[in-house]
């Protein structure tokens, strides 16, 4: 099943109402083993299990969301991703997914390293803090940016580590993490040039 279809098409589809899910759904190979960090109510994992025969596991910190995820038949457990991966053996998964959570993590670098220890590949999706709207908001208001992508006041934002597309690329290079594929999105439209300025969301497949 191909969701992103043609690589040259300007728009990607949506999966469960989200374009980054469509890309992730496309990347994940059938019958693989997947761990989703911050799996929420397990919608993506349930989709992967039912449509791609994936062995789907999830970690989620909220007990209510864990309950709903297990209710969907997803093997989720309640835990903190900043601490939760230590128990897994090396190479336990084909993919470890971190979707829209890296910027909320307390120790993002540790999480990334752990993802690549327990998984053969990592799929990381995050909002790009380098997007021109964010830059403009900060430049014009002189305050912590408020945009569609970052809608929170500074004092109640779950985001504690802001990163841009360039930041991630630099870190990956420094850490010797090999970026196999990269996808840049503005809404559901693909961004083909100047991703650090134009992309709202980035999805990286790291090996």
């Amino acid at each position: 099943m191909t969701l992103v279809s043609d690589i040259n098409k300007p728009f990607v589809g949506e999966l469960l109402g989200r374009s980054d899910f469509a890309i992730i759904g496309d990347i994940v190979a059938p019958n693989s083993k997947v761990l989703d960090l911050g799996c929420g109510e397990g919608e993506l994992l349930q989709w992967l299990a039912e449509n791609k025969g994936v062995d789907a596991r999830g970690v989620e910190i909220s007990p209510i969301k864990v309950r709903r995820a297990i209710g969907r038949g997803v093997s989720a457990y309640q835990g903190d991703i900043d601490e939760g991966l230590a128990d897994y053996p090396n190479g336990a998964f084909d993919y470890v997914i971190l979707s829209q959570t890296l910027q909320e993590s307390r120790h993002p670098l540790t999480v990334l390293r752990e993802m690549l220890r327990v998984g053969r590949r990592a799929i990381v999706a995050f909002p790009n803090f380098g997007h021109w709207r964010v830059r403009l908001s900060m430049l014009l208001s002189g305050r912590a940016p408020l945009t569609k992508l970052f809608p929170y006041e500074w004092y109640d934002s779950p985001n504690i580590h802001f990163l841009t597309v360039s930041d991630f690329e630099l870190l990956a290079a420094r850490e010797g993490m090999h970026i196999e594929r990269r996808y840049f999105l503005a809404g559901s439209r693909r961004v083909s040039s100047l991703p650090n300025l134009m992309a709202e969301t980035a999805v990286f497949l790291v090996g």
Partner: protein, 369 residues
């Protein structure tokens, strides 16, 4: 759903201690229908003082089963889909062979000559029953508290026989505190002059000792918060304290009532034997390493604990979860927020229903795939 307890008789069973029992009988009930492929059987294992009557209304007595809110048509363990079996544990006193049963060698009740049994022995008898029912593989084994210990023992002892395991509010080994509370209960029984070294079956049973043991038990099943909510410092049928040792507080009255009721349905010697089996329970076999116990499994797990359970605290469930993860086994885990303490596994039905239903559905799907 009117149900009747049935009984299966076996020639003998060799026990972990080296002793043997023969013959041995297992009381059990079933709900729903075994499908043609015999792939939809679920064994439900009961807690300490439970029995084979897990669901429906008993033909004699008209009582609902102890997990009737979880087992039935459309419920968590859906009898429209699954074939549910529940049997009284070995060493019990509700139909399965135990210390109150007649010793064929003497024609009198076993009493303290009954061999000490273990959780593994209980599970062994259940396996004999499941074999007798023509079931080649269980879709799941599920139980809370001591029922959870049996579920875990099943997964470890018969790893290829159990597709899924649902241990609830339980532990992989009894802790010092858990042994301590059981020992208080045993000592209360044995200190009762009516206990007569367990040889009381043609006399007055040790009702006071057993009643006190049950009072202690009930305290450990509740939480500080649930006791405060249920009783507070309310007085029992009086406006002020009596300055004597009659019942002053509601909580005293409740515990005394529970203690006295328990005596009518439970055998004091069975209390001794079953608590001993719990205390001996250690999946690590004394090695201290759970990792070895869970080495070769294809079983998936749904583990549930309750935030206010201080008798089987959440950390004990989390220890199992961590070991299973280390082994990369398929495990779902939820620590349900609850005020009910250990009792939550019998009370918080809605939450558990969500979890169990989803987990069983995906297990059944994977099994048929």
């Amino acid at each position: 759903m009117i149900v009747e307890t049935q009984s299966a008789r076996f020639e003998s069973i060799a026990l972990e201690s080296g002793a043997a029992l023969s013959p041995v009988e297992a009381a059990y009930e079933t709900y729903g229908n075994l499908n043609a492929a015999r792939s939809n059987a679920i064994l439900v294992t009961h807690a300490f003082t439970g029995d084979a009557h897990a669901a429906g209304i008993s033909a004699e007595g008209g009582k609902p089963g102890w997990w009737d809110n979880m087992i039935g048509p459309g419920k968590a363990f859906d009898t429209d889909k699954f074939f549910i079996v529940c049997s009284n544990v070995l060493g019990g006193c509700q139909g399965t062979t135990g210390p109150a049963s007649t010793d064929p060698a003497t024609g009198r009740p076993y009493g303290m000559s009954f061999p000490v049994i273990t959780i593994r022995d209980m599970v062994k008898l259940q396996k004999m029953l499941i074999d007798r029912l023509g079931i080649e593989r269980l879709l799941a084994v599920a139980g809370g508290s001591m029922g959870g210990m049996q579920a875990l023992e099943w997964a470890v002892t018969y790893p290829n026989f159990v597709r899924a395991c649902i241990p609830i509010a339980t532990t992989a080994r009894h802790s010092a505190q858990q042994i301590a509370f059981n020992e208080v209960g045993r000592q209360a029984i044995m200190a009762d002059p009516d206990w007569c070294n367990g040889d009381y079956y043609d006399k007055k049973p040790p009702a006071r000792g057993l009643g006190i043991a049950r009072m202690v038990g009930h305290i450990t099943y509740m939480s500080d918060e649930s006791m405060r909510e249920k009783f507070g410092r309310r007085l029992r049928e009086k406006d002020k304290v009596g300055f004597d040792f009659s019942v002053d507080f509601e909580v005293e009255s409740y515990l005394r009532y529970r203690g006295s009721q328990f005596v009518n349905r439970f055998d004091a010697n069975a209390y001794l034997y079953i608590t001993k089996a719990e205390d001996y329970f250690d999946l690590t076999n004394g090695s201290g390493s759970l990792t070895a116990a869970f080495a070769d499994l294809s079983t998936r797990f749904l583990i549930i604990s309750f935030s206010s359970d201080w008798l089987y605290p959440s950390y004990q469930s989390q220890e199992i979860v961590r070991v299973l993860r280390r082994r990369n086994h398929d495990v779902a885990y939820c620590d349900l927020p609850s005020n009910y303490g250990h009792d939550a596994f019998l009370v918080d039905v809605a939450e558990q229903t969500d979890l169990v239903r989803g987990f069983l559905a995906s297990t059944a799907r994977a099994t048929h795939a």
